[in-house]
């Protein structure tokens, strides 16, 4: 069933295949090559950025782990004779690494972890997975295989003879592992100091052996118990350190292992960042920054986030989806050549071909822009390329400025909304971002209610928020915010003034209260109380309240100014990727539904009038497999083939019309029979039915439902 095809060596294609593919469909005038180069460089930038983020996020955790390994090891080195230490020396140092659900991203974490350890602590690391460790024997085999291989990797040049000892020949037992360890450490000791200086400065004389259990929960209890008990017997000869990767909670160690076993471990807990926080950081660094010219539209971002939240919790997949967006955008949008840094984009505008200019004119957002201009300008824009290029440069700059401002104002708004009760606009900044991209956010109910809630904030909250906003605006790259910062600072000073005034006011109220206490007459008391109440009700807003209103109104004006949805902006098509359906189709496909539609409603695919039917049913002229499928829906668990065949032939005969009877009916019958056989075996291939031995000439249905 396998066939290899090799081309003749002459015809081998040159490198840069991807670029060729990219060009193949797009005609030359649309700068395909330049687009491809831009796309690649953008993706490489983003990729390195995400890797950097990942590294930074893991750094803390890894530092802690390395510290733990150092400590556990150095304790062992000091040969104290104290009783407690002797007790302790029976215990295996263990790090419990709580990672949270999701296995796929953890592979990457473990990979970088082992790299870090290899560089800092020890060359002897074994990564174990529950899948391959069904029994203690398999586990030992895996362990020894990895340890000895890693030794070979470290200095394979020097000991050629060692390589030849395959792991099979060594008996898999703890003693052989110990002897191996002794020989290895001795070898390093006896090594010429000049050669091994560098490595021995990194590792100690007897580096620990680190065993990582990737998915601790999936290991069988028996295997874990046995392994731990055996290891604790040999801990003196073999400095082992265990690392458990835990998906649920650290309690699982105690529920998996009985006390007698878990007491052999000296566990320290490490918590990794949850994948949600990881995603937030990624979104923060990738999307909410003006660094990258490429932007995601609201729907697209929504789809990506939903795949993350509802399906896999995998940041890697999120990034993959992001990559797909970039590729798709640069591939399908000829004007994406302008989707680069502003300086380059301006240069590129000047060298646009006439076709590309026409492409710009065809953009809906540009058309709307033209309609708003005076008539002379309109004519110039639509006819003269030079005028168009000039305008495009200006518009691109506008778009750039819009982005810079947008991000700062968005963060500022998030400061306000993220502390409101019930979070009407969402807890995370990504939700706010989506809402703003989707529509004019100030027209939504949620925005209205959050403003109302903001009008009830306390003074201290308000002051801290304002301070945060000032920080955001000061650090932002937007140039228009000098005034805003001033205004906000003014608010802050006003609040401080209020504080001073408040002292005086308090004096006044205290005096009135004193007055109250003076009068003991019941009638007068009632009267004054009523008066007080009256005055309070009709009292004008306090200064603080006025100021609070002012602040909220100011924020509101900022939002209305700067958080205009992107698709209201001219030329947004150049940098925004908006076709969410493509993304969903390729990342979150539903094969079963496609089959269902094809079988139930073939007109969706085959645009033939004969297949068109009202009310969702199928006509009798549908393809054979559709008819057979439709008929089988009427059956229960078992289907009688004879009945099925008869029903099928009735339908087909009727569809072919009365003239079919005139032909030699035997042949027609045979052909129908053959068609039936084909359709049935196709259904079997698709998994709707399977042969059954329960009754002669019956097949079993494998799906429920009949629609």
């Amino acid at each position: 069933g396998c066939f290899v095809f090799k081309p003749s060596p002459k015809k081998k294609r040159m490198s840069q295949k991807a670029a060729i593919d990219f060009r193949e469909r797009n005609n030359e005038s649309e700068d395909a090559e330049l687009r491809f180069v831009t796309c690649q460089s953008l993706w490489n930038q983003i990729k390195s950025e995400t890797e950097q983020i990942q590294e930074d996020l893991n750094k803390q955790l890894f530092d802690n782990l390395v510290g733990f390994l150092r400590r556990s090891h150095s304790e062992r080195q000091q040969k104290t004779t104290e009783w407690t230490c002797q007790m302790k020396s029976r215990e295996i140092p263990t790090a419990a690494l709580v990672l949270g659900v999701n296995v796929t991203d953890h592979d990457l974490t473990f990979k970088s972890l082992s790299e870090v350890l290899q560089n800092n602590i020890t060359p002897y690391i074994a990564l174990l997975e529950a899948k391959y460790c069904a029994g203690i024997k398999n586990l030992m085999q895996k362990l020894m295989g990895q340890l000895m291989n890693c030794y070979i990797d470290v200095d394979s040049l020097e000991d050629e003879d060692y390589v030849h000892i395959s792991q099979n020949r060594i008996r898999c037992s703890m003693t052989s592992l110990i002897s191996w360890y002794e020989s290895v450490t001795k070898k390093i000791d006896s090594e010429t100091p000049s050669k091994k200086r560098t490595s021995s400065s990194r590792h100690w004389q007897s580096p620990p052996v680190v065993v990582i259990f990737k998915d601790m929960e999936s290991f069988t209890t028996k295997v874990l118990q046995d392994f731990i008990v055996i290891c604790s017997q040999h801990i003196r000869e073999l400095p082992l350190v265990l690392i458990f990767g835990i998906a649920t909670s650290p309690m699982i160690i105690h529920s998996l292992l009985p006390h007698s076993v878990s007491s052999l471990l000296c566990i320290e807990l490490f918590q990794s960042l949850s994948c949600k926080e990881h995603l937030s950081t990624i979104i923060d660094k990738l999307l909410l920054t003006a660094q990258f010219p490429f932007k995601l539209g609201g729907k697209v971002l929504q789809v990506l986030i939903n795949i993350f939240l509802y399906h896999d919790f995998s940041v890697q997949n999120f990034i993959k989806g992001y990559q797909l967006c970039i590729v798709e955008h640069f591939y399908s949008q000829p004007l994406s050549v302008l989707c680069c840094q502003l300086v380059d984009a301006k240069k590129r505008v000047n060298s646009l071909s006439h076709d590309q200019c026409e492409n710009i004119r065809r953009l809906p957002s540009f058309r709307r822009y033209v309609e708003r201009q005076v008539s002379e300008k309109q004519i110039a824009l639509l006819t003269a390329d030079s005028c168009l290029k000039e305008t495009t440069q200006k518009l691109l700059e506008d778009l750039h400025v819009y982005h810079e401002n947008y991000i700062s104002v968005l963060r500022c708004l998030h400061v306000f909304t993220s502390s409101l009760p019930k979070y009407p606009l969402g807890k995370q900044i990504r939700e706010l971002h989506c809402a703003c991209l989707e529509d004019q956010v100030w027209e939504t109910e949620e925005y209205e209610s959050s403003l109302q809630l903001a009008r009830m904030l306390s003074k201290s909250d308000l002051v801290t928020m304002l301070q945060q906003c000032v920080e955001i605006f000061v650090s932002s790259s937007g140039k228009e915010f000098d005034k805003t910062v001033e205004k906000l600072k003014e608010f802050l000073t006003q609040f401080q003034k209020l504080e001073a005034e408040a002292f005086q006011e308090r004096d006044v109220s205290v005096s009135s209260q004193k007055e109250l206490q003076k009068k003991t007459d019941l009638y007068h008391l009632q009267k004054t109380l009523l008066e007080l109440k009256e005055s309070r009700r009709s009292k004008k807003l306090t200064k603080f309240e006025m100021l609070r209103f002012e602040v909220v109104d100011y924020i509101d004006s900022l939002v209305r100014n700067y958080l205009v949805p992107a698709d209201h902006k001219t030329l947004h098509e150049i940098v925004y990727f908006n076709t969410a359906s493509v993304l969903r189709e390729h990342l979150n496909a539903a094969p079963r539904i496609a089959l269902h539609t094809a079988l139930n409603n073939p007109y969706c695919y085959l645009k033939n009038q004969a297949l068109k039917s009202d009310g969702g049913g199928i006509s009798n002229k549908a393809p054979d497999i559709c008819i057979v499928y439709r008929l089988h829906l009427e059956c229960g668990r078992l289907i009688n083939l004879a009945d099925w065949l008869e029903a099928f032939s009735t339908v087909v005969m009727a569809a072919e019309g009365p003239n079919a009877d005139a032909a030699s009916s035997d042949e027609v019958d045979d052909i129908i029979h053959a068609r039936f056989i084909r359709a049935v075996s196709e259904l079997e291939l698709l998994g709707f039915i399977k042969p059954s031995k329960q009754k002669t000439d019956h097949v079993a249905r494998l799906t429920w439902g009949g629609c």
Binding site: R13, S619, A655, L686
Partner: protein, 548 residues
């Protein structure tokens, strides 16, 4: 009197409470539906689709509960489809038919049976007079009866008189529906018009009850509610692979133009696929219809100048081993064997990592086939596909194919999904399948039989032939257990083929090793011998032996 009234009020109160509860339930349900909608909307499924394909179908339609089915429903549907050319089957119509099905008829059944037999008689008379005017409104069953030739009719009527009660009843129903034309439609109408309902709660309750009842009805009995007819009774000869193929060639492919258009749509994606393959994605194709030709076209038009491997997953003897072997032996030109597939995989990964100029395109037709769908093979293929210089493009067909992959494998595969519904027949893919409708030629079994026997002694051949003859003599006996060892020994002795019990046993061991015979212990502990080859092949074999 007061007390009674009080009770009554209590009762009404409790009823009210119950209704209220139901309303609450329905509210909850609507809430749930709303939530589901939110989720769907959140995923963006409601967004319009450029291809216009069926992603608008909700999951509830595709995955629903099992409901009880009547065996006559299929033929009813068939007749409806036949009667109304070009029109769809209105769902409410079938529902009303179902309802008439359910009306109890046991009281009338005796009368109906008489009527039925009478009718059969009338119809056979009609047939004999060769009056073949078909009225288009006669239901399918009757029409069928009219269409079949006379001897068949005889057996058919005989059969239906003798077969199970249930079958009878159905036929009667069919007749009753057809003949009492004025009566039944009225009844169906009455049954089909839903009685006026006051509250939503009530409706909901009814629906719930129906659902529950239907569920338990469907699961209550293991009895199979299908008719007992077999293909043999239809006098259809079993077609073999060749004749099937020839016959299908004669039948024109329906909607060829539209299918071609679909294919052209897919072919326009080729360069995009190549781009995405090079960027580190792998591509999986799904959708109804064979994707073999599409992939083949992809191969010939785009991959001509590069090294590529085509794997026919539908091939019944394909294994991961053979895929790995063809990579190591033919692509990497490595001579030598490996201890395990994992070793081999490790070797391949190492080679591809070392040599960055190595590139390989892998096309797998039917990645979800029987042989490749196992966990281990998928794991290996996934690891293979995760290599940056191996580009995988595969097709899947089975409805449950995506269940093969867990998150770990999915992230290794790094799929981009493409819907390529082609509607073209699965010619290659089904030709290997041991379809129950296709007669196995048995040529393979025959040749192996002759080959093995040719290497045996004359006496051994005689022993086997003896057993074969005996089996053929008993071929009409459905409960034939096989030849008992003692009888067999006796017969062999009489034919001077063996001289002792032991020689026969030694001989039988030889047969058993070549899978020529099977032994079975009967209820009485006696050993029975059988040749596990079908009768036709055995006859052929004996004829051939006699010729030699």
């Amino acid at each position: 009197g007061v007390k009674v009234r009080k009770d009554k009020t209590q009762l009404t109160v409790s009823v009210k409470g119950f209704v209220k509860k139901l309303e609450n339930i329905s509210d909850d349900e609507t809430q749930e539906i709303l939530e589901e909608k939110n989720y769907v909307a959140a995923l963006g499924i409601c967004a319009q689709d450029p291809m216009g394909n069926g992603s608008s179908v909700s999951g509830g339609e595709v995955y629903s509960f099992q409901t009880p089915k009547r065996s006559s429903k299929m033929s009813e549907l068939a007749s409806e489809l036949a009667q109304t050319p070009g029109q769809s089957v209105a769902p409410d119509q079938s529902e009303s038919l179902e309802k008439t099905d359910k009306t109890p008829q046991s009281s009338k059944s005796v009368l109906m049976r008489c009527l039925f037999l009478l009718l059969i008689h009338v119809f056979s008379l009609l047939l004999q007079s060769k009056k073949k005017e078909l009225v288009s409104t006669t239901p399918y069953r009757l029409r069928k009866r009219l269409a079949v030739p006379d001897p068949c009719l005889e057996s058919e009527s005989e059969y239906s008189a003798s077969c199970s009660e249930e079958e009878d009843e159905e036929d009667q129903k069919a007749v009753s529906i057809a003949l009492s034309g004025q009566k039944t439609p009225g009844k169906t109408k009455a049954a089909s018009t839903p009685p006026p309902r006051n509250t939503l709660a009530k409706k909901n309750e009814e629906r719930m009850n129906n659902l529950v009842e239907e569920y338990f009805e469907a699961h209550s009995s293991s009895k199979v509610l299908t008719s007992d007819r077999t293909l043999q009774k239809l006098r259809k000869r079993r077609l073999n692979q060749q004749t099937l193929h020839d016959l299908l060639k004669k039948a024109p492919l329906a909607y060829a133009a539209e299918i071609k258009e679909l294919n052209q749509q897919h072919e326009s994606l080729f360069s995009k696929w190549m781009l995405q393959l090079h960027l580190g994605f792998n591509i999986v194709l799904y959708g109804l219809g064979s994707k073999h030709d599409l992939l083949e076209k992809f191969r010939t038009s785009v991959l001509q100048d590069s090294v590529h491997l085509v794997v026919n997953g539908y091939f019944p003897s394909i294994t991961v081993r053979s895929i790995l072997n063809s990579i190591t032996e033919e692509v990497l030109d490595h001579i030598g064997t490996f201890r395990s597939p994992l070793d081999q995989l490790g070797f391949i990964i190492k080679r591809f990592k070392e040599d960055s100029s190595l590139e390989l395109y892998v096309l797998i037709h039917n990645l979800d086939s029987q042989m490749l769908r196992g966990e281990r093979s998928q794991q290996i293929l996934a690891q293979l596909s995760s290599l940056p210089s191996i580009y995988l493009i595969a097709s899947i067909d089975h409805i449950n194919a995506p269940l093969m992959w867990d998150q770990a494998k999915l992230s290794l595969y790094n799929w981009l999904w493409y819907e390529t519904t082609t509607f073209s027949p699965y010619v290659e893919e089904t030709s290997y399948e041991n379809s129950l409708l296709v007669q196995q030629s048995g040529s393979l079994a025959l040749s192996s039989l002759t080959h093995v026997l040719r290497s045996l002694t004359h006496n051994a051949r005689g022993i086997f032939k003896l057993l074969a003859h005996y089996q053929l003599e008993n071929k009409d006996n459905p409960s034939y257990p096989g030849l008992s060892f003692q009888d067999f020994y006796q017969q062999c002795r009489e034919a001077f083929l063996v001289n002792s019990d032991l020689t026969l046993r030694a001989q039988l061991t030889e047969f058993r090793d070549h899978k020529l015979i099977r032994t079975k212990r009967g209820a009485d502990g006696v050993e029975y011998l059988l040749i596990p080859v079908d009768d036709n092949t055995l006859t052929d074999f004996l004829e051939k032996e006699d010729e030699d």
